[in-house]
C-alpha cells in the first residue's frame, strides 16, 4: 500500500509540475511574431535545426 502511495505521489508531482509549466507559459504569453527574428545572430548549433517540437 505504501508503495502505491509513493507511485501516486510521484505521478502527482509530475502532473503538478506540468501545470506549473503551463502557468509559466501563460505568464510569458504566446510567441509574438514581432519578437521573432530568425535572421538575427543565431548561434552556430542552431544551423542544424530541422524541426521544432511545440
Amino acid at each position: 500500500m505504501a508503495d502505491l502511495w509513493v507511485v501516486l505521489t510521484v505521478i502527482g508531482f509530475v502532473l503538478i509540475s506540468a501545470a506549473y509549466i503551463k502557468g509559466c507559459d501563460l505568464i510569458i504569453g504566446p510567441d509574438d511574431a514581432t519578437e521573432l527574428d530568425t535572421a538575427s545572430d543565431e548561434p552556430a548549433q542552431a544551423k542544424s535545426v530541422v524541426s521544432v517540437d511545440r
Binding site: F13, S17, D37
Partner: protein, 570 residues
C-alpha cells in the same frame, strides 16, 4: 592558521584559477557542438545511444517541451531508484544480505538522489546493498548533475539567442554532458582517489581480529568511483554513514585536497562557459568575481572561526593554540588528520556549492561557524553553487539586480541586450520565493510536531532549532548536508524533507527555463550611452548587495532564533 593551512588554501586557489577556465572552454565547446579531436572517441557511443533511445539530437525543443522532458525523465528515474531499494533483498550484488529499504526511507532517498541533494537519512554501509549503491545511487549522481548542466545550457542559450522559439534538445544535452564531460572527469578523479587510498572493492563486511584481542567488522565498497562523482557532480552522498570523515572515503590530507578541488572545479568553470557561449567573456569574468568574493569571504571566516576555537574552553584553561603537535582550534567533531582549518575550508566549499558531503560535523562547529555554513545555503548556494544550478541561481539574481538598477534610474532594464520586462520579473519572483516558502513553512510547522520535538531533536533550545532549520534549508537548496544531531529517519521528516527537495529543485528549474524561453525569442537591443554595463566592478558590487539584502530580509529573523542567539550565549 598554520603555514601548511595557508599553503593548502593558496594551492587550491591557484589550481582552480589555472584549470577552471580551460574546463569552462571545453564545456562550452561540448554544449555548442564544436567539432573536436575527441569526437572520434565519443561519437560512436553517442550515436548508439541516440539510435537505441530514438533521439533526434537536431530536433530542438521549445522551453516547455524541454522542461516536460526533464520532468518525465526525473519521474521515471525516481520510480526506478525506489524500485531498486524496495527489491534489493532479491537483487544480486548484495554481499551483506540487506533486506528491502522501508518505503518512507526509500522515497526520501530516491527524491534525494534524483534532485542532486543526496540527503542521507540512513547509514550507507548498514542499509544499502552494493547493487543499490552502484546501479541506483551512483548512476543518479551522474544523471542529476547532467540534468543541472542541461538546464544551465538551456538558460544560457535563452540569453544568447535572439528571435528563437527553442532552447535546445534536453535529451541531446543530457547525453552529451554525461558522456563528454562527467564520465571522463569522474574516471580521472576516481583513479587519483584510488591512488590516494580510497577503497574500491566488492567485499561485504570482513571480520578482523584487533591487536587488543577483540573482533571488528570492516566494511567494503565500490567507493572510489562513487566518491569522484559525488564530489564533481556536487552530489555529496557517500558510501559510508560518516561521509568523507571516513578513512575509506577520505584517508589523508592529499585526498582531502583533491576532493575539495573536485567539489569546486565544475562550478568555477561554468562562468567561463557562460562567457564563451554568450560571446562576451567580460560577463563571465563579472560572474566569477561575484562567486569568488562570496567564496573567499565564507572560507576565510569559517577557517578562522574554527581555528580560533571556543572562548569558553580557553576560559576553562584548555589550550586551543596551534602547536607542533596540534592543529589547535575547535577540535570537537573534527578528524585529527584534517584539523580545524581544512575542516572549515571543506565546510564552506560544500555549503557554497550544493555538495552535502562532510569531513567534520557541522553540529560541533562554533555557533558563528555554523552560521557561516547556514548563511552560504541561505544565499542560495552561488559560490560557485551546484553543477549548473549555481550559475543559474546567480544569473537569476543578476536579472533581479538589473531590474532594481533600472527602477533606480527610471529606464527599462536590459541584460545582455535583452529587455527585462514584467513577465521575466514575475518568473524571477517565483524562482526566488520557492526556497524560502518551503524552508520557513516546514520549519514552522515542524516545531509543533510531537515526533520532531520528542524523537528527532536531542538538543533543546536554539541549537536544536538550528539543526531543524538547517535540515530544511539544506534540502530545499539540494545541498544534502546535515547539521547532525537530528534524527531524520521519521515519517514526518522523511516525507516533508522529500517534498522540500522536490520543490527546491523543480520549482526553481521550471521558472528558470521559462525565463530562458522568454528571453530566447527577444531581439537584441543595441547598447546605448544609457545602457547600464553589467561587467563592471560597480555592477559586481550591486549584485553582491542584492544577494546579501535578499537573504537578510528573508532569513534574518529565523537566524536570530538559532545560531545568532546561540553565539550570543557564549
Amino acid at each position: 592558521m598554520s603555514g601548511a593551512s595557508w599553503a593548502q588554501y593558496v594551492a587550491l586557489i591557484v589550481l582552480l584559477a589555472i584549470t577552471a577556465p580551460l574546463l569552462g572552454r571545453y564545456i562550452a565547446n561540448v554544449l555548442e557542438g564544436v567539432p573536436s579531436r575527441l569526437d572520434r572517441a565519443f561519437d560512436p557511443a553517442e550515436r548508439l545511444i541516440y539510435r537505441v533511445c530514438r533521439i533526434d539530437p537536431d530536433r530542438e525543443q521549445r522551453w516547455n517541451i524541454y522542461t516536460l522532458s526533464l520532468m518525465v525523465f526525473t519521474g521515471v528515474g525516481l520510480l526506478f531508484l525506489y524500485l531498486i531499494q524496495r527489491l534489493q533483498g532479491n537483487l544480486p550484488f548484495n554481499p551483506t544480505g540487506f533486506a528491502a529499504v522501508a518505503p518512507a526511507l526509500a522515497f526520501n532517498t530516491s527524491v534525494s538522489f534524483i534532485t542532486n541533494t543526496n540527503w542521507q537519512a540512513y547509514g550507507g554501509e548498514a542499509v544499502m546493498s552494493h547493487f543499490t549503491q552502484v546501479v541506483g545511487l551512483t548512476v543518479q549522481q551522474f544523471l542529476s548533475a547532467a540534468v543541472g548542466l542541461a538546464v544551465m545550457a538551456a538558460f544560457i542559450r535563452g540569453l544568447a539567442r535572439a528571435g528563437h522559439r527553442t532552447v535546445g534538445n534536453f535529451w541531446a544535452d543530457l547525453v552529451r554532458t554525461t558522456l563528454r564531460i562527467l564520465l571522463p572527469l569522474a574516471f580521472v578523479f576516481a583513479i587519483v582517489l584510488l591512488a590516494s587510498g580510497v577503497i574500491q572493492n566488492t567485499h561485504g563486511f570482513t571480520t578482523v581480529h584487533t591487536v587488543a584481542g577483540s573482533t571488528q567488522q570492516i566494511p567494503g565498497g565500490v567507493n572510489a568511483s562513487m566518491e569522484s562523482m559525488k564530489q564533481l557532480g556536487t552530489n555529496g552522498g557517500d558510501w559510508f554513514n560518516v561521509n568523507s570523515a571516513h578513512p575509506y572515503s577520505n584517508p589523508n590530507g592529499f585526498s582531502d585536497f583533491i576532493e575539495i578541488y573536485a567539489i569546486l572545479l565544475i562550478g568555477f568553470a561554468l562562468p567561463f562557459t557562460f562567457g564563451r557561449m554568450i560571446k562576451d567573456k567580460r560577463q563571465g569574468y563579472a560572474v566569477v568575481t561575484i562567486m569568488s568574493v562570496i567564496f573567499l569571504a565564507a572560507t576565510l571566516s569559517l577557517m578562522f572561526l574554527e581555528v580560533g576555537g571556543n572562548p569558553k574552553l580557553t576560559d576553562a584553561g584548555a589550550t586551543q593554540k596551534v602547536t607542533a603537535t596540534s592543529p589547535g582550534g575547535n577540535a570537537e567533531g573534527k578528524e585529527v588528520r584534517f584539523g580545524p582549518s581544512a575542516s572549515g575550508l571543506w565546510g564552506a566549499a560544500t555549503t557554497g556549492t550544493s555538495n552535502g558531503s562532510i569531513n567534520s560535523q557541522l553540529d560541533s562547529y562554533t555557533p558563528a561557524g555554523g552560521l557561516v555554513a547556514l548563511g552560504d545555503l541561505k544565499l542560495g548556494e552561488i559560490s560557485p553553487g551546484g553543477v549548473g544550478t549555481g550559475l543559474n541561481g546567480l544569473l537569476i539574481i543578476v536579472i533581479l539586480a538589473v531590474f532594481i538598477a533600472g527602477l533606480m534610474v527610471g529606464r527599462t532594464p536590459e541584460y545582455l541586450g535583452k529587455k527585462i520586462q514584467a513577465r521575466e520579473v514575475k518568473l524571477v519572483a517565483l524562482y526566488v520565493l520557492a526556497m524560502p516558502v518551503v524552508v520557513l513553512g516546514f520549519t514552522a510547522l515542524s516545531v509543533f510536531v510531537q515526533s520532531v520535538l520528542n524523537k528527532s531533536i536531542y538538543n533543546p533550545g536554539p541549537h536544536g532549532f538550528t539543526e531543524l532549520l538547517y535540515a530544511y534549508t539544506s534540502s530545499a537548496n539540494n545541498n544534502g548536508s546535515a547539521f547532525a544531531g537530528l534524527t531524520a529517519n521519521t515519517a514526518w521528516l522523511n516525507n516533508t524533507l522529500g517534498i522540500t527537495m522536490l520543490v527546491g529543485r523543480f520549482f526553481t528549474i521550471i521558472p528558470a527555463l521559462a525565463i530562458a524561453g522568454s528571453l530566447a525569442r527577444k531581439r537584441h537591443t543595441p547598447a546605448t550611452a544609457g545602457t547600464f554595463p553589467t561587467h563592471t566592478p560597480l555592477f559586481v558590487v550591486l549584485v553582491l548587495g542584492v544577494v546579501i539584502i535578499l537573504a537578510a530580509l528573508t532569513f534574518l529573523p529565523v537566524l536570530a532564533l538559532g545560531p545568532i542567539v546561540e553565539q550570543l550565549h557564549i
